[in-house]
Symmetry: C2
Subunit: 472 residues, 2 copies
Amino acid sequence: MIRLDANSDIPLYRQLYQYFAGEIEAGRLEAGERLPATRELAGQLGLNRTTIAAAYELLESDGWISGEVGRGSFVRQRRAGTSRKSIIWNELLPSAGSFRGSSGHTAGTLISFATSRPSEQLFPLEEFRQTCRETLEDPGLAGMLQLGSPGGYEPLRRHLLEEARTEGVAGPNDDIIITNGCQQALDLLCRVLVRPGDPVAIEDPVYPGLKNLFSQAGAQLIGIPVGQVDQIQRHRPKLVVVTPNFHNPTGETLSLAARRELLRLPGAVIIENDIYGALRYEGQALPTLKQLDETGGTILIRSFSKIAFPGLRVGWVIGPRPVIQRLMDAKQLTDLHTDQFSQAVLLRFQESGRLAEHQKSMLFAGAERLRAILRACGQFLPAGSTFSRPQGGMNLWVQLPEFLDAGELLARSQASGVNYLPGKHFSVSRNWSNALRLSFAGLSTLQIEQGVSLLGEVFSGEMAAQPALAMV
Amino acid sequence: MIRLDANSDIPLYRQLYQYFAGEIEAGRLEAGERLPATRELAGQLGLNRTTIAAAYELLESDGWISGEVGRGSFVRQRRAGTSRKSIIWNELLPSAGSFRGSSGHTAGTLISFATSRPSEQLFPLEEFRQTCRETLEDPGLAGMLQLGSPGGYEPLRRHLLEEARTEGVAGPNDDIIITNGCQQALDLLCRVLVRPGDPVAIEDPVYPGLKNLFSQAGAQLIGIPVGQVDQIQRHRPKLVVVTPNFHNPTGETLSLAARRELLRLPGAVIIENDIYGALRYEGQALPTLKQLDETGGTILIRSFSKIAFPGLRVGWVIGPRPVIQRLMDAKQLTDLHTDQFSQAVLLRFQESGRLAEHQKSMLFAGAERLRAILRACGQFLPAGSTFSRPQGGMNLWVQLPEFLDAGELLARSQASGVNYLPGKHFSVSRNWSNALRLSFAGLSTLQIEQGVSLLGEVFSGEMAAQPALAMV
C-alpha cells in the first residue's frame, strides 16, 4: 500500500519516487518486475496521471527502472558489482529531520509569503556594479583573492568593530568575527557553546533554522512564549537565544523593560540575534541587549543579508574575546573563512554611503508594505483571526480561529496561487496549527493585497464549510 | 612563575597577555596591584623588553590594566555589575584543542613554506576583473544577489555536474552540492556521516584541518601510513578519507594498483579528497577512485581554491543522490548556501576558457618550483635526510635524521627568516617529530632555493652541535 502525505513539503511525485526507489533498494520490487501503468496507479491513488509520470521519469533517469514503449516500466538490473560492496545509504545516514521547503518555489505560485527575504526589485544593481568595479581597482585585490584568516577580511572587521564601539555595542573586552550570514553565526555558536543535554531557551514560535540547529546539537530546547522573559529563569537555561527586534516569525519587539529583565537572569549566556534590527519602519529604536548589558554575557549577531544582498553571505558576531577566539577556531575547521571578495565589496558598499542610501529605500518600501499587509489582514482575514503588529522586519504572524489548520489549508491556498509557511514549522513546544507566517518584505503592496485577499477567501471558505465547528 | 613556550605558534607577547589576563580574571592579581616593570620582567624571563611592552599595551587596550606615566601599570577595577552575572568563559567553553597558526604570518619571516596555497603573484588579476565585469552585466545579476538554495548556484551546479559526467566522474545516481571550499565539504560530510565512536581511517601524516574535524566529531581515528591501503581492512572502518593525488602533507600519489585495492574494501564509504588533482606537473594522470568505483560508494571532493582563487570559497562534492540530499540539509542549517556572486564569477571564469589558461601558467610555475625544491633539498638538507618526490600539488615532506626535532628547530629557523610546519601538526598516531612540510607552490624558485639553503644551515648546525647523538 502506497501512502503519500499531501501536506508534506515534499512534492507528491517525489514521495512516489522515494517509495519505489525504497522498494527496489530493499529488494521488495525485483529486477524485471513491471510497475503499475500510470493511468491505473493514478486511479488507485486519486492523483493526476502527470504526477505518476513525473515520478516514473525520475526513476528512469536515475536508473531505477527502464521504460519500454508500449510495454510499460520495469525494474532494472542493478549494476554489476553492486551486491559486493554496495552501501545502503538509507541505513547509513541518520534520519534527516531537518526542514525543507523554505524556498517557497512551489510551481504555479503567483504570490509567495513563504520566504523572509528582501525584494530583489529593490536591489540597487547599478550601485552594486559600481561598488564591484571600484573594489576591482583596489590595490589589495590579490590579497582578497588569497587565502584569508578565520576572523574575516581585516578591513571589514576593523570597520564593523569600530562602528560597534561607537554605538556602544562593543566594549573593550569584545571582539568580532565575520561569518557566512547569521545562520553560520548561530551554527558556530552552537558548536562552541552547546553540549548534548544543555538547556537552551528559545522563543516559541521560532525560525526553524534556529530550532533545528540547536536540536541537532542535542540541546534540550525550552520554548518561551515571545516576550515572556519572566518565564525563562525557572528553567535555569545555560543559553538564551532571542531576537528582540522584529522577531521571526512573529515580527514582535521586546520592550525595554523586558530587555532589562532578561539581563537580570543569573548566569545564562544570551545570544541576541539582531538580523532585522536595521529594518525599523516606525516607532523608536530600542537599545540592544548588548548595549544594555554591563556584564559581558551577551553575544550579538548581525548581518548584511536582510539590508543588502542575501546572496552574498556576510554576517558577524560581536562578543567577549574568549568566545570570538573559539568561534574563529570553529570557523577555521568549518570552512577556513568567509568569501573575501564579497566582504570587500560590502565594506565599500557601506563606506561609500551606498548602503545607507539603499537602507533608506528599504525602509520606505518596508513601511509601505507593512501598512499594506496590516490593512489587508484587517480587511480580508476571517472573523476571529488575530495578527501581530510589527514595527519593522519582514514577517507578520497570523492566528486563525482555532479550528482552522493552516497546514491543511496550504495546498488549497497554493492552488489559489498563494504560498506561506504554516505555523507548525515554527513550533517548539506549543501547537501552532492555526497559525501562519506571512513574509511581506519581498512583495509589492499590490501583491500583498491580492495575496491576503485570496488567502481570506480560502480561509473563509473553509469556515463556511465547517459551520458546526465554527459554533463550538 | 610565568611559563612561556617559545615553540608555540602563539607569539610570546600574546602568551604573556594571556597569562596576565588569566591571573586577573581568576582574582590572583587584584585591582590596584602593580605589574612588574617591563625592564625587570624582561630580565627575569630573558626576553626582549619590547615583547613585554607589547603584552602590556594589549592588556591596557583591552581594559585589563591601566598605565600611569612614571608609576607603572596597575590592574584595573572591573566594570560595575561584573560580579553579579559575569560569565566565566574559560569554564564554559570546552578546551579548544584545535590547530592555530597555519597562516604562517610570523613576524620577520622572509620565506614561508608554512601554507599550502598558490602564489598570489600568479593570480591573473586582469582576467579576474574582466570576468567580474561580465558577470555584473549578466541579466541574472539580481538573482545571484538574492537568497539562493543550499545545493548551490544552479548554472554552476549544472556545469560542474555535466563536466563530471563527461569525465566519467559522476554516474547516473550521482548529484552535486557546492560548498565553501573543500574544508566545508569535509565538515558537512563529517556531520552527515560520522557518529561518535565511528572508526574512520585517515592517512598518517595528514592535513590538520581534516584530522581535527573528524576528531572533534568523536570519530575513532585510525592512522594509515600513506599508500599502505592493505593495512586498512583489518580496522573495518566505516569511512576512509584519502587524498590520492599529491597528498597533503607528503605530496605522494596513490598508485593505480593501490586505488583498485582500496575499492575492494567491503562496506566502507570512501571520501576522495581531490583538491590537488588538477595540479599535476609531471607523469601520467591516474583515474580517480570515483571513476574506478562501480559500486557508488565513493564521494569526491574538488575545489577552485588551489587552481584559482582561495579567497573565493568555492568547492563541491559529487556523490550518490541520498548523500548529496543530506549534505544539502546540513548545508541549509550551516549557512544556507555558498556566496552566489563568487559562484557565478568562477563559472564564467571557467566557461570563458580563462581558468584553463590560468591552469596552464599554474602548471608551468608549479613544475619549475617543484624542480627547484627537489634540487634544493638534494643539495642543502643534511646527510641522512629523506624527502618525498611529488609529481604535483603544493607540498613536499622532509624527514630529518631521527634525532633532530623539527618542532624544536622551528624557532631557530624562523630567526633565520624561514618558516615551515613541523611534522607534529600532521601526526595521527605515528610520531613525526623529525619531519616537516615544505609548501613550495607559493614561493618563487629563488625563494625556494634560499629558504631551503637557510634551513639546511640550521639543521646542519644542530647536527654539528650534537655529534654524540649523530653517532648513535
